[in-house]
Amino acid sequence: MALSREQLAQRVAQELQDGFYVNLGIGIPTLVANYIPEGIEVMLQSENGLLGMGEFPTEETIDADLINAGKQTVTAVDGASFFSSSESFAMIRGGHVDLTVLGAFEVDEQGSIASWMIPGKLIKGMGGAMDLVAGADNIIVTMMHADKKGNSKLLPKCELPLTGFGCIKRVLTDLAFMEIKDGAFYLLERAPGVSVEEIVSKTAGKLIVPEHVPEMNF
């Protein structure tokens, strides 16, 4: 079975380490905050100027001046700090964030990523994504392995305008967890019940498959 949105978030959460500062993108990455393992302390960075993002507020504590990068109302945890956008991106560009999780339309075997526009169809703008992928060393991209018609989103070369060039090293899809190195996807894990054959058939880029591919553990 392909992973659900919640399972994608759960699998990413297994990569969190005690003491990490983490930036979670909009969408599935945001859900990672719900699965922080017990006994682990992490601080969530929101690029609009908040380090130490907490849960959603109640009707009583809602504050229009306190939002996350998805413009949702949030709270701040004890030990949080607020700062300007330039300070926020100094943290990001300067490599101070330990883990960045974000979504994508396409990723290729060189580690390039496309996530901000589909010419003629959709222009969202890149927001902070170009800075995040350029500034972070430890990035996990969460995405669908293929579109609804079965066309692979893991390509030899991205077809859409790039967000970043050669900067992605790990990709988690609804089917597989992969590393990107030396111009190829390396299959690390497969979703429970998903066959290696299915992953191979839905990966257009170069895919290296080891003899044994373990299933993900939840």
Binding site: G49, P57, I62, I67, S84, P161
Partner: protein
């Protein structure tokens, strides 16, 4: 106005000198931390041909979206089109010239503009459409793009507290682009929630020193929320 007292009594006075084809920076992230009254006044002035620099363009019927609707903006420099349908439609039709700029690069371009730095190198956007036509350089084995600084004729800023000399304190994530923009306007106008006397703000707690600020107006804010989310 007298001496270093920068408080003005009306929005007209706050935007005095704003004319067609000027460049205007507007603080805020989404609808959070925007100078609501100053934006409304810009609409009223009817100035056109503006170049607006702001992270987003508000929503269709609030924030900078109002100026897009009235077609007063020619060029928009922003990082995110987001949920503003007017913005996306004017951009796709070519009616509006849009320079999409990565958020961190945008923030740093404004910071540099205010700090007298003409341009800087950043790895952000290398190998992407953002770098097209720009000078690049390899430094210690990594590729960087040269990004010029940004300045504006007017910078419109929202602060939580201002003293009459223009020392500013921002509140929570309403700070966002406001502190940098305050430094990068030829004329910086602050719309404040609270105006206090000099000495009332602890000098240790001031985010933006008054030297950057030219005019201050007392605002009143609707503080509309874009994505109202509460705990289940």
């Amino acid at each position: 106005m007298a001496g270093l007292n920068k408080v003005v009594g009306s929005y007209q006075e706050a935007l005095k000198g704003l004319s067609n084809d000027m460049t205007v920076m507007v603080g805020g992230f989404g609808l959070c931390g925007i100078p609501e009254g100053l934006i409304a006044e810009m609409v009223k002035t009817g100035v056109t041909g503006l170049t607006a620099i702001s992270n987003n363009a508000g929503v269709d019927d609030f924030g900078l979206g109002l100026l897009l609707k009235s077609r007063q903006i020619d060029t928009m420099i922003a990082s995110y089109v987001g949920e503003n349908a007017t913005f996306e439609q004017q951009m796709l039709s070519g009616e509006l010239n849009v320079i999409l700029t990565p958020q961190g690069t945008l923030a740093e371009k404004i910071r540099a503009g205010g700090a007298g730095i003409p341009a800087f190198f950043t790895a952000t956007g290398y190998g992407t459409p953002v770098a097209e036509g720009k000078e690049t350089r390899e430094i210690d084995g990594r590729h960087y793009v040269l990004e010029p600084a940004l300045k504006a004729d007017f910078a419109l800023v929202r602060a939580w507290k201002a003293d009459t000399m223009g020392n500013l304190v921002f509140r929570k994530t309403a700070a966002n682009f406001n502190p940098m923009m305050a430094t990068a306007g030829k004329i910086t106008v602050v719309e404040a929630e609270h105006i206090v006397e000099p000495g009332e703000l602890d000098p240790d707690h001031i985010h933006t020193p008054g030297i950057y600020v030219n005019r201050i107006i007392q605002g009143s804010f609707e503080k509309r929320i874009e994505q109202r989310t509460v705990k289940a």
